[in-house]
């Protein structure tokens, strides 16, 4: 991110912020969708985060740290949207299915379904760490700073989340009792 643009936006330059927001918007939506598993909620979270960034930009001390700082606000927005979902609406809307490649076999479709269900079973805390680590390739110490948690907690969440994902993948691949009997 161009730190000059960030600094201009910090001083109220809306044109500069339009460029900043435009540069990060798609990435924010991608991260929010992966955390929340819901396009509508992700769009709302992205919108809230972009507004929060504008509001709080003057408080960013080091413009070079913009990216990590902005992800913190995005994660906060995701948590707020996720809270609406979890306290009340269990009818999780499925993400629009990404078009599978023509040569995909059945097993990869099953994998995708297992992954989706396994991921939805994770808490938003665990999903967030998985997305930051495995999608954004953010180091764990940086994740800890973004989430304002100890590094050990970030590590623990990642471990538990991946254990859950592995269990989800393994669960459906086990032969059913009936199949064993046969």
């Amino acid at each position: 991110m161009d730190t000059d643009l960030v600094m201009r936006a910090q001083h109220g330059d809306r044109g500069a912020y339009a460029l900043v927001a435009g540069a990060i918007a798609d990435r924010f939506l991608a991260v929010a969708r992966r955390i929340l598993r819901d396009r509508d909620l992700a769009e709302d979270a992205t919108q809230q985060a972009l507004l929060a960034i504008w509001q709080d930009l003057p408080q960013l001390k080091d413009p070079a740290r913009f990216e990590a700082w902005s992800y913190r606000l995005l994660v906060h927005a995701c948590y707020a949207e996720g809270r609406k979902e979890r306290r009340w609406a269990p009818n999780l809307r499925l993400l629009p299915v990404d078009e599978p490649a023509a040569d995909e076999d059945l097993s990869s479709v099953i994998d995708r379904d297992q992954l989706e269900r396994g991921f939805r079973r994770l808490s938003i805390d665990h999903r967030t760490v998985v997305v930051l680590y495995h999608y954004l390739d953010t180091p764990l110490d940086e994740i800890a700073r973004i989430l304002e948690i100890p590094v050990g907690t970030a590590h623990s969440r990642l471990h538990h989340a991946m254990r859950g994902m592995r269990a989800a993948l393994d669960a459906d691949s086990r032969p059913k009792a009936r199949e064993v009997a046969l």
């Binding site: 504008w54 509001q55 306290r87 993400l95 995708r112 805390d125 999608y135």
Partner: protein, 299 residues
């Protein structure tokens, strides 16, 4: 069975799927709101006090002490407490020697904050969500999430056990069908509304004591063969968030048994709620009971 490396490969590959572009309308909405959205400036720089002379610093410190003293005096418990009941005699709750404890503070156990917890005492004291603050003693392995929910397990909705608290102003007449709300700002009204609530099996009301204070206990569950799909909008809902704010509320999912302790504090109704999923191991249920037994209200 998958290996860790294989799981990582599959998850990373799956996360990479899909092209995502933010619709123009979303970004346009943000940019349209900028003129009406003031930026927040740092209004009280920490270094400001360093530039003051000694007299000014002493004056500020004295004023701060006075404010704390006045606030502290006003917050001292008066006669009564929750629902006007006498302040309970403090009791000592036996606890195992902690292996790892949260940092204690001079004013009592630390407030629960989002994340995995170590063994120790914590306080439910978020004023937005908690009518009367209380402390609990938690063993390691529990997590506190952004829903003000203390839970054990992978997910409180599916396989875990959980404990939370809720301010209640309204109750759904039919938990399964939703819609009609019964105003219920007092304990008596909440008890009456929950006793009459449709959409689940009800055990209770039973008069009990929780944390040394009177409570009315209900246990809600589902009859065998109950089909959640017949409920409008998904799960059974016991009540909305206070207001009422129907964007939130306490849901009951299939396989869950929800125990509600209706109480009153500051003249308002609130509940301590435990949730037990059928898939939760007995050891987790025992830990949940221990947490419930450890409750001490800060009145």
């Amino acid at each position: 069975m998958s290996t860790d490396r294989e799981t990582t490969r599959i998850v990373r590959s799956w996360l990479e799927e899909g092209v995502t572009a933010l619709p123009d309308r979303v970004l346009d909405t943000v940019l349209d709101q900028l003129p009406a959205t003031p930026q927040r400036r740092s209004w009280w720089p920490a270094r400001r006090i360093a530039h003051m002379n000694s007299y000014a610093r002493i004056a500020i410190a004295a004023a701060a002490v006075l404010v704390v003293a006045v606030l502290g005096y006003n917050l001292l418990p008066r006669t009564g407490g929750i629902g006007g009941q006498p302040t309970p005699v403090p009791t000592v709750t036996p606890t195992a020697a902690p292996t790892a404890s949260p940092a204690s503070s001079p004013s009592g156990p630390p407030e629960l904050t989002q994340g995995d917890l170590t063994h120790g005492a914590y306080s439910f004291s978020n004023p937005t969500l908690t009518e009367v603050p209380f402390t609990v003693t938690v063993s390691s392995g529990w997590t506190f999430n952004t829903d003000n929910m203390l839970f054990r397990g992978l997910n409180w909705k599916d396989d875990g056990v959980a404990l939370t608290t809720w301010k209640i102003t309204h109750v759904y007449a039919d938990g399964c069908k939703g819609g009609a709300l019964v105003p219920a700002g007092t304990k008596e009204l909440v008890v009456a509304a929950l006793a009459a609530q449709l959409g689940h099996e009800t055990s209770g009301p039973t008069e009990v004591t929780l944390g040394g204070l009177p409570a009315t206990r209900f246990e809600f569950s589902f009859a065998p063969g109950f089909d959640m799909a017949t409920c409008d909008g998904g799960p059974v809902l016991l009540w909305p968030d206070p207001g009422p704010n129907t964007n939130g509320g306490l849901p009951m999912f299939a396989g869950q048994t929800t125990t509600v302790y209706v109480m009153e504090g500051n003249g308002k109704a609130f509940a301590v709620v435990t949730i037990r999923n059928a898939a939760a191991p007995a050891s987790h249920a025992a830990e949940l009971q221990a947490i419930l037994d450890s409750i001490e209200f800060q009145v």
